[in-house]
Amino acid sequence: MSLPTHHPTSETFRANALAALADDTLRGALQRATGTLSERRKAAIAELPEWDALRARARAVKAEVLSRLDHYLEEFVARAQEAGATVHWARDGARACAIVAEIAAGLGRPTIVKSKSMTTEEIHLNEHLERGGLEPVETDLGEWIIQLAGEMPSHITAPAIHKTRGQIARLFVEKIGSEPTDDVQELTLAARKALRRHFAAADLGISGVNFAVAETGSILILENEGNIRLTTSLPRVHVAVMGIEKVIPRFSDLELFLRLLPRSGTGQHLSGYQSILTGPPPAGGEGPAEMHIVLLDNGRSAMLREEVTRQSLACIRCGACLNFCPVYQQIGGHAYGSVYPGPIGAVITPQLNGLEKTAQLPFASSLCGACRDVCPVEIDIPRLLLHLRALVSEGRDLPGFDGTVPRKRGEALAFRLWAWAMTSPRRYRAAAALARLGTKLGLSRLAPPVAAWRAARELRPFASRSFRDQWRELER
């Protein structure tokens, strides 16, 4: 597999978004995909009158576990070790990659199959393994397509959502020498055949984790394709990489999250397969002889400090906020320049990487609140966006980062002037008189910062006489 080529970065979000808006093929694909996924979700939750009670419960369970995360992590690790799993800890992505590389090195030059995992995308595990001369093969159909294309996923649950069947057909002809076809069934079966060869030879399987149960040391992974089941049962060694926030307290809590996640993500009652794995099988049993679990911090512990940021860790990666976001619907995932796109990406990416290179992301929203309304764990994404915007306007980075945050100087200056004018009656009267004069002269069309601000907004004209003036007249 070739290393990924050029990717847009978060730093150039505005330019990325403009380029995406000019791409009609992309926008057509996005509109069909997000429209279908959001309709399916609506239909699935309409059948479940308990939906809002379930969301409230999930939010409460996540709040409970995050408020005592050290305790639940230790419980999870103790139970998983008792079941025979080997647990590794990594404070950042580089260390997590090194752990996986070391396990791989212990197997010689293993054939590696991988199932879809946002966490391994986050730490760029594939690139790390490829630099070491290994060739991890993504086995989720969508992930495999974008790996062949050398791209990044553009959606949390449907990574190749931005590609048309024609583009995929051409890619398959070029990369795996398959016959040209526009038939989705044939394309999928060509992928099955190619990937089966990798599975049959695989020594190491790498997966993510959806939920980790503290009470029993179990991990649960959901999917539809069966590639996760193959990845976690055919190779001799299985490595599961998970963020520390994936822990839930009780085995019975799985019911709650299994009702919320598939309905939110794909509109299914239940995804096709759930694998609940509690340690490796006993000697002679079916499945890998070794099971490793890598627990990754990578900036998560810092999100625990404040209540507003802590809720970001409740995310169960369903992708519903992407499908319902009017911004994502128009520009897709790549513009965000991060493995986590859309509204949740706009709040998580800065927290993982600092605001220096991501300061535009919190502004990639109209604050309409659709993301909050559809979130199965009730994350208040608009509040998080405002929190991050406030930091940017003050030129401050998040705790744990010390980047030079590119302030929005014009806006900051305008608000300082506004505050100065509003805090004295005399200055207020003078400013209001100035504004009325501005309206009369049509100055708002001339001044460049105001004109830029006005490009997408209506500026209401100031009344020709103020309320104070009218009141004074009435009193007379």
């Binding site: 694909a29 279908t36 479940l48 308990e50 009670a53 379930l54 409230a56 419960r57 409460a60 709040a63 409970e64 408020s67 050290d70 230790e74 079941a83 800890w89 404070r91 260390r95 086995t139 159909l141 969508g142 397509i145 449907a158 959502i161 048309t164 069947r165 989705v184 069934q185 999928t188 079966l189 099955r192 049959a200 009470e215 029993t216 394709e225 069966g226 089941r229 193959l230 049962s233 055919l234 085995f251 019975s252 019911e255 709650l256 299994l258 009652h269 239940l270 995804s271 096709g272 397969y273 759930q274 694998s275 609940i276 509690t278 490796p280 099988p281 049993g285 911090d297 512990s301 625990l304």
Partner: protein
């Protein structure tokens, strides 16, 4: 400082002064399930059909073996991989002497990878979603239910539970509460929508799923 200590210390430092939320803010939500065995079977069948699976009902193992023969013939399967469960072996024995069909119980991986049809039991069913539940400690079922293009599962009608919650409770072993090393939930055939959200079955796992439900009261229903 070890990585473990470093991560836990960072978690504790950032949680200093954070109180757990009041318990009982949002109580557990109980979702009611179907009440009677007849309703559960009907619901299981309808839900499985809605995701492209099929249910056949047999009143005993002899009828189930005949159904299996029919399915093998219908699919044109030449090689059948069977789990190590007694009931699966009993049904597979009915394939003995069928011309041109090779059967292997608890087969080697090479046979499994080439098999046309896999036969296993399912320890539980979930009516609410049409789901099969497989426990690794009761049967070697992981690969036989996954690798071949057709999966036939045998399920006792009495093992069809009402809800997801009932199934999660059922897979915990009474002695210590832990589940089997591998518990697999299966709802329909392997599927993907990764190309233009177009549904295609059989992407990695079985393209077809047939569940033979053994229901002693079948003739009365």
């Amino acid at each position: 400082m070890s990585e473990r200590d470093a991560v836990l210390a960072a978690v504790r430092r950032n949680l200093a002064g954070v109180e757990p939320p009041e318990p009982g803010v949002a109580p557990e939500v109980r979702i009611p399930g179907t009440a009677t065995p007849t309703e559960r079977l009907a619901r299981f069948r309808a839900q499985l059909a809605s995701v492209g699976g099929r249910v056949e009902v047999a009143r005993d193992a002899r009828v189930a073996a005949a159904l299996l023969r029919d399915i093998v013939a219908e699919k044109g399967a030449r090689t059948v991989a069977v789990s190590d469960a007694a009931l699966a072996r009993e049904l597979a024995a009915g394939l003995d002497g069928v011309d041109g069909v090779a059967v292997a119980c608890d087969a080697e991986r090479a046979f499994l990878l080439e098999a046309d049809l896999g036969l296993s039991c399912a320890q539980w069913g979930i009516a609410e979603t049409g789901t099969l539940v497989l426990e690794s400690e009761r049967e070697r079922n992981r690969l036989v239910s996954l690798v071949p293009p057709v999966h036939v599962a045998v399920l006792q009608a009495g093992a069809i539970l009402a809800t997801l919650g009932d199934a999660l409770a059922a897979v915990r072993r009474p002695e210590h509460g832990a589940p089997s090393r591998a518990v697999t939930f299966i709802t329909g055939p392997s599927r993907t929508g990764d190309i233009e959200l177009t549904l295609v079955v059989g992407v990695h796992g079985p393209k077809e799923l047939v569940v033979i439900v053994i229901d002693p009261e079948e003739s009365e229903r």
